[in-house]
Each structure stands twice: as structure tokens, then as C-alpha cells.
Symmetry: C2
Subunit: 331 residues, 2 copies
């Protein structure tokens, strides 16, 4: 990939480098940032890795996370290059980081989102990559920077976050080859799985239990949903991070095409998540309520009381499903 | 591996071939059997793929599963070769299949269990393989038999079953390279994940809910357990397959080293499953109750009432944990 060569040249000739990623960073964002950041530190660069806000606690196990800075902590505001990872456009960076990048000599944009705006002076955007971490590994191999176990653990985290541990549809042969290489470089996959998947809180399991009590199915068995009230959330002592993963339960039922999770995040405000298995475009469904997302995972927010929201949205989902089936979406 | 050459030679010179695997077959057993079986059918061999009992319903999606026969259905009892997959010893094959194999010209033993007894005339036993399916892929490549998408889907199922979808500690770079090759050969990983992980029954989720209601933690937070009564199982309408996966919940809690699941499978008979994260040898723990397994996953059966069994086993687990910690097992 020619653009990776151009990225390598800019990084090689720059010393003071600002690195960042998008707000509300996920494992691909933090893992790619730290993976490339540690590699450049090891090559003797004066690197500052910055996020607009502290990263989620779940990623604090990542080697090098103690090097991350907030914008207010920076000892300089002048950089020869800025490197932005896993970020579709500059507006998703947050804080005053876009200004800082505008002042940098060159901006490098490394990402895998098809919607990337190519905002950089050099853009290594590869929508075929399942994770930005895959592109970072290619870059390190191209630049001949040794991949240490710490770097490998970061890039492995990036990869499994964006592929759902190799379960999502976007998982390719390339993902598995990348994983193989990263394990050979010493990625601690036992640590990563333990820190990502075995750190549940008691309150999150109590919230799951409360959710399971509300599990309902449409008459034809193709729609399943759970509705968590504001009271449930309050009494469980959960925060929003604790709700992650609950959406998978309704969809996991045999015969179900669409799973829906209703969460009353404030009295009268309901966050709705949709997941589909094979044929319903939930992006369009969510868009009809002012939301959006992808074909198989989307969401929206509606106002009103929980029971009304459930009734209305299940009804609309049934209509979308009927149309999709009439259009030959399913046997 | 020289033994694979020997396996290839026996298969090449044989026409009538009996193929089988262990009783209560898992995804590696069925996937390896069908993966190799379809390949030999495609090479023009007269292959009979046999299991002592019908395979679990969850594996009926596997391409070629309609070719599986029960011993009573066989049209002949004379074979030039017998091939046994994923099976430590002949006694685990079940039915009258061991006799049939004894009558076969040569017995080929393809497996990855370290405890394999090398019962074959030729033994391709590779304990470094995470799944028997990995060895089967090597064999097909060695023999130059084309890997069709159907074969790849079977071997991919074998691989993800025995590595817990690449999450277990036994996952190696080789596993990921095998997965990459299988995806390139057309393994339908979306189908596999859908059929393995998104076919829950409503009753299994109701049993999970009943289990979560009993979730308990030891004072120091290092032991978590759930206890499912015979009544819970009866009223949920679940069978034993529906209980699978429930053991993962207690262990998934932050700070927990040992997760325990108690299932009263009959009045007065309690199946106990143990899982540990990092340092407790639950094989030894289970052995102290007449059970066994591996270091990180083991089980036993005890008699008595559920509450007494819970109290007794939690107390013993606390003692094992205290000893493990005194021995420097943990920081
Ligand atoms: Mn990403
Ligand atoms: Mn196996």
C-alpha cells in the first residue's frame, strides 16, 4: 500500500509527534494508539499520546496506558507531525486536539472506516481492514520497528475488539493471520481475555437478571426484547458500561431475527438498541426513529414511558420485518 | 510429521473405510469426522462415518451430517481401514464399534489429547494441536485432497469448539493460521457462529435467570457460585444441554478466581463444575470429591441435599485456595 510508505516517511523524518484517537475510545482506538505509540517511543521519538478524556477503566490493563495524557497536561503545543488513529473525521477527536493537529507540520490519518473523510495530509485508510490495529501492524513491519510483547498485546486488543473476538461477520483470513503474528510476537492473549471478558460486576449480573425477567417474544418468534426500567438501573447500582452485552441475549434465541434492548436511561428517556441476525436492515429501522448505525447493529433514543415505547417500537419492527420478508429477504 | 505420512499411505491404499469418533461427541469430534469423511468421499473412497449414538442436535448444521450412520445401519462389517478421530482410547468409542475396528485391516488414530493411548496401528497424535481438526487439515494438505467449503466449515467448527472461539489458553498462532486457511477455503464462519452461539432456547435463559438469583460470593470475593435446584430444572423445562455456559457466569466476575456451578440433576444428586482463572488447580479440588478434569476446568458429583453440598464444597474450595495462595500462587 503506497500510502503506508508515505506515512512511514513522515513519521521517520519527524521527532515531536502528537498522537490521538476518537472520543469514547474503544479497544481498537486505545490499542492502536498505544501500539503505535510505544513503537515510536522505542524508536527514540518524542511522542505524546493524548486522549480528550481519560480512557475507560476497562482498558487500563493495556501496556503503556500510564503514558496517556490529557490535552491540559501537554508540555508543548508544537508538533512536527500529528497521527490520528481509528477516527473518521477531525470532529470526532474532541477537546482542543483538532486545533493542535492543525498546528502540526503534517497530519497522518490511519483508519479503517469506509466513511473516513481523508482529513489528513497523508491518509492510510483501508476499509478492508477489520481493525485499525491491523494497519498499524503492517506499518510497523514496513518500518522495521520491532514488535515487542507490549505492542503486540495492544494490537491484539484492537483486533479482538473490532471483530468481537473473531465472531463478527467482518472477520477475515487476514484478521487471523494478524492474530497469529501478534501471538508470535508475544501478545498476552490470556491477560486480554481475562481483562475484557472476566471483569463483570455483581451489579451488572443483577441487571442482567432484571432484564431476563422482562424477556418477551413476538407471536411469530422472530422478535425478542428486554426492557430495563430506570428503577432497575438505579436499584442495581449499574452504570451504562455495565449494560454492555445485555443486547446479545434477546438476539441469541433460536429463531429470532431481531433482538431489541430498551433502557430507560432517565425517567422518560429510553435508549433502544437493535441487533439483527441475517436479513433485517436495523439501520433503516433505527433511522425511522431518528437514530442510526449499521445493517446489523443500530440504535435510537425515544421519549415517553417505557411500556408505550416498547409497544410502539415492537409494532414498527414487525412492519419492517414483514416488508423485508415480502421482499424475499428470507426463505 | 512422519506419522501423518503413514496415515496418508494407509488411507490411500484402502477403499472400504470405517470412520468414527468418541461418544458424546463435541464439535471437534463431529467436525473432524465429517471434514475428513467428506474429503475421502470426494476422493472416491467407500467411506462409512459412524457414531455410536445420534449426534447432538446442535451439530446437525454441519455439512455432510446426513451421511452419518448408526452402527445398526451399516451395510457391511468388513473394512480395509478404520479411522478414529479425537478419541483418547478405544473404550471411548461406544457401541460395538471397537469390535468392528478390531476386525478392520488397519486402525488409524488421529488425536490431540496428551492422554491418548496410541491404540492404533498408526497413530497421528499431536498434543500441540488445539483441536483434532488442525491435524486433519494438515493431512488433507499433505494428501493433496481439495478442501471444499463444506470440509472447511467442518474443520472450522472443530477448531472453534476446542479453543472456545480462540479465547481459551490453548489458542496458538497455529490455530489462527489454520483458521485463516479455512476461511480462504470458504468456511462459512457466519453460519457456524449463528448455529453454535445464537440458538439458545427460552427455557435456557429462564434457567440462567433462576441461577443468577442464587449467585453468591465468598467473603473475600475470590469464590463465586450458583446453585440450580432440581425444581428449577424441572420448571424451566431444560435438558442438560441447556445448562451449558451457565458455569461461565460466576467465574466472569471481577476479582473471582474460582467459579462453581451446582446442579441438582436428580433429587439428592448434585453435579458440581469448577472453573478457575489463574492459579487454583481445580482438577485436584474435584479429585478430592472423586471427580477430575483439567487444571482450569473440572467437575465431580456428590450425593445429599443441595444446601449441604454447597456449604461443604465452598468450605473445601476456600481451603484449597488458602493453600494455593500460601504456596505463592498469587500476589
Ligand atoms: Mn476500529
Ligand atoms: Mn478435541
Amino acid at each position: 500500500m503506497g500510502s503506508l510508505d508515505a506515512v512511514a516517511r513522515i513519521i521517520e523524518k519527524s521527532n515531536k509527534i502528537l498522537m490521538t484517537t476518537h472520543v469514547n475510545p474503544d479497544g481498537d482506538a486505545v490499542g492502536s494508539l498505544l501500539g503505535l505509540g510505544l513503537a515510536l517511543v522505542n524508536s527514540g521519538k518524542d511522542v505524546m499520546m493524548v486522549t480528550a478524556a481519560p480512557i475507560p477503566a476497562v482498558y487500563q490493563y493495556l501496556p503503556g496506558s500510564e503514558l496517556l495524557q490529557l490535552p491540559s497536561m501537554l508540555s508543548t503545543r508544537e508538533f512536527e507531525a500529528g497521527v490520528v488513529l481509528d477516527c473518521t473525521d477531525l470532529s470526532r477527536i474532541g477537546g482542543d486536539l483538532p486545533e493542535l493537529l492543525n498546528g502540526a507540520g503534517s497530519v497522518v490519518n490511519i483508519d479503517h472506516h469506509i466513511s473516513n473523510t481523508h482529513f489528513g495530509d497523508v491518509n492510510a485508510v483501508d476499509p478492508k481492514a477489520a481493525a485499525t490495529g491491523e494497519i498499524v501492524l503492517d506499518l510497523l513491519l514496513l518500518m522495521g520497528i520491532p514488535v515487542t510483547p507490549d505492542i503486540a498485546t495492544n494490537l491484539y486488543t484492537a483486533l479482538i475488539t473490532d471483530t468481537g473476538s473473531f465472531r463478527h461477520q467482518n472477520t477475515t483470513a487476514r484478521c487471523h493471520r494478524t492474530a497469529a503474528v501478534l501471538l508470535e510476537y508475544g501478545a498476552d492473549h490470556v491477560l486480554v481475555h481475562n481483562c475484557l471478558y472476566e471483569q463483570r460486576t455483581l451489579s451488572s449480573l443483577m441487571l442482567l437478571k432484571a432484564g431476563l425477567e422482562t424477556l418477551s417474544l413476538s407471536k411469530d418468534g422472530r422478535i425478542a426484547w428486554m426492557a430495563i426500567s430506570y428503577e432497575d438501573i438505579l436499584s442495581s447500582g449499574c452504570n451504562m458500561e455495565d449494560c454492555e452485552g445485555i443486547i446479545d441475549y434477546p438476539k441469541s434465541l433460536r429463531g429470532v431475527e431481531v433482538g431489541i434492548l430498551f433502557k430507560e436511561v432517565k425517567p422518560g428517556e429510553i435508549k433502544v438498541s437493535f441487533r439483527s441476525k441475517q436479513y433485517l436492515d436495523v439501520n433503516r429501522l433505527a433511522a425511522s426513529f431518528g437514530g442510526g448505525g449499521h445493517e446489523r447493529a443500530a440504535g435510537c433514543t425515544v421519549k415517553g414511558n417505557l411500556a408505550d415505547a416498547v409497544a410502539m417500537i415492537v409494532r414498527t419492527t414487525e412492519e419492517h420485518l414483514r416488508l423485508a420478508m415480502n421482499n424475499g429477504g428470507v426463505s
